[in-house]
Amino acid sequence: MTASAPATDVWADLFEAARPRLPGAGRVAGLRRKALAGFRATGFPTQRQEEWRHTSVAPVTGTAFEPAAPPSREALDRAAALLETLPPTGADPAAGGSIRVVFVNGRFAPTLSSRETVPDGVEIASLDEVLARPDEDLEARIGSLVDGTGHAFAALNTALFEDGLFLRVPSGTRLASPVHLVFLAVGGAAATAVHPRLLYLLEDDAQASVVESWRGEAEAPWLSNTVVEAWIGRNARLDLLEIQEQTLEALHFRALKVHQAEDSRFASACLSIGAHLTRNDVHIRLEGPGAECRLDGLTLAQGDQHADHQTKIDHAKPQGTSHQLYKGILDDRATTAFSGRVLVEPHAQKTDAQQTNHNLLLSPDAVADSKPQLEIFADDVKCAHGATVGQLDQDALFYLRSRGIGPRAARRLLLRAFASEIAERVQDPELREIARATLERHLPGGEG
């Protein structure tokens, strides 16, 4: 009997109540039942478990969440207004060629979305839409990378997801402009949970860029519990930018698993800015030789924010490359954890794996934990890791001031320099612009 058992029961009850309306039959329904059974057996993680050492899930277990109802007319109007008033995500429907898919409280909002320019053969659909009709390929794929085993939140998502996205880019097709996914939280008074499920399928030689933008106005506890499964075919390429700007009521959980085929490329930049609690689990498997992945992340945290990034990269085949750069700027009592595990399997020769974590602490009460784990079972590899935790470089500050630049401007300059590296590493030019603009909004201003 564990302390979280009652919370486990609450979620089981929520599942029973939701079951009649949950999309997907047959295999998907079975997947849900199995995930819930697994969740009930293991319960929520505790900080005694190594992978959860730095993150308490008490804000989840201690709150009675309701499942998000389908958005009312009012909520949709509110969402439409938010889309106007929130700083642009780059997904301006007025701009030609822009594909925007909006989710309000976890549900696809067709009236706010624009999919007119989706090329023939490319599928960008809500899961609710596609699960309503038989699609064997989708049913076989969903849950094949993440079925919730060993991860309570992924299990809850698998059991409870009501909507999400299915993106399929067929072989040889390249999307000319990014797909913008906007996840809006339009809060009411009740604590609400959403479990979006996203599937990105890039067939051989396909190419796409995706922006996930998480934002809203939730004023009550808001559990956003996402699972992303992605398949990147041979010589295909996916560029992903995740911008997490949720309100401070939000608890942001996201588990991403990617399978990469031969010579494929996956690049992800994650800007983790909002939410009271953020937990990102990223698991990349380089299944084909010559696959390349790049994971970059920037956390801006202040007040009592906490962000925990766990990455795991399996180098299963030779000549794979994985480069990770995670950075954090922490103020007040903010805390972050980064744990990066790189596994190089015995025959994955010529692997090039780099992992770096740099943290800047602006307050004596901020804490950044960093844990690299390299498990290397091949002998001809290049693996490196490095981590730093420190304050703003006092010598650099003085150098700038000695040239007439005031202390606030000097500080701002150094913070921007530290943060902008993540935006500048984004290779897709449109995504890079969005990343730059996002940082521009969140880095400290002020003259002097």
């Binding site: 650099a396 003085f398 001031r401 000695s402 040239r403 007439g404 000097a410």
Partner: protein
């Protein structure tokens, strides 16, 4: 700036009186006196550990040093009360012995921010990017610098010589009234030394003064000082004209130490 009447002696640009300073309780400067008139070039020499670098750092406002006694007047006003950025805006420039690397900030951005901070302080309009580039490229040409260095991060990955040249470039762009050069000659080959010296000589003029700290006479072949001072154990123990530097080069600092000891014995 105050103008002087015909019959009044000109006002010193810098007056240092009995300056005592140290770091973490350890006294390094133990009563430095120095007067620098507009247009003058002063060389401060001395053995390692004599306090040369500390002296110019204190003048630039480095917060790592604590001034325990004495005063510094710049243009007749108390300098020690001014924050480092305000000293810079008022025309004091320190060329660092070890210029700091700032990854992520381009040289161009940094230089323009600095120049505009100084200009705005004097009520002048900020330079736009185009005007700034025209100005800075001109200076870079004179210093024989690769224009590509503008787009590189400040000093990041620069060679020792490139860093020193970058300091002189900043000085040329900011046009200080009082330039403090902290071992700007160290680590330079002879060609680079000549270029750096040219950059410094370009700055010379009736209103500007230069204090250069150096360990060797070499730089003074190209920048001929009006006055040479020897700093020893935190005090200026000998001052003279350019010849003094030559004598130091030939005879080292031993005779100075003997003189100091003799003077102290005589005083007893």
């Amino acid at each position: 700036m105050m103008s002087n009447g015909k019959n009044q002696p000109p006002q010193p640009l810098l007056e240092v009186r009995n300056l005592h300073a140290g770091v973490e309780g350890k006294q390094i400067l133990k009563g430095v006196d120095l007067t620098v008139m507009p247009g003058e070039v002063h060389a401060i020499m001395g053995p390692n550990g004599s306090g040369k670098s500390t002296f110019v750092k204190v003048l630039s406002g480095h917060e790592g040093f604590e001034v325990s006694e004495g005063e510094v007047l710049y243009e007749g006003r108390d300098l020690l009360d001014l924050a480092p950025e305000n000293r810079a805006r008022e025309g004091i420039f320190l060329a660092f012995q070890y210029p700091v690397e700032i990854p992520g900030v381009s040289n161009a951005y940094f230089l323009r921010a600095a120049l505009n901070a100084v200009r705005e302080h004097h009520g002048e309009e900020a330079l736009d990017a185009m005007d700034f580039l025209t100005l800075v490229r001109e200076h870079m040409k004179r210093l024989r610098m690769d224009p590509g260095m503008l787009n590189r991060a400040v000093n990041a990955g620069f060679s020792g010589g490139e860093k020193k040249r970058n300091e002189v470039l900043q000085m040329a762009v900011l046009q200080p009234r009082l330039a403090l050069l902290d071992e700007t000659d160290s680590g330079l080959d002879i060609d680079a030394l000549k270029i750096v010296a040219e950059g410094v000589n370009d700055l010379r003029g009736p209103d500007r003064s230069i204090v250069l700290v150096t360990h060797y006479q070499r730089l003074l072949d190209y920048i001929v000082p009006d006055h040479v001072h020897v700093l020893h154990a935190g005090r200026i123990v000998k001052s003279g004209c350019a010849d003094l530097a030559l004598k130091l080069e030939e005879q080292g600092y031993g005779w100075i130490e003997d003189d100091v000891r003799a003077a102290e014995a005589g005083a007893r």
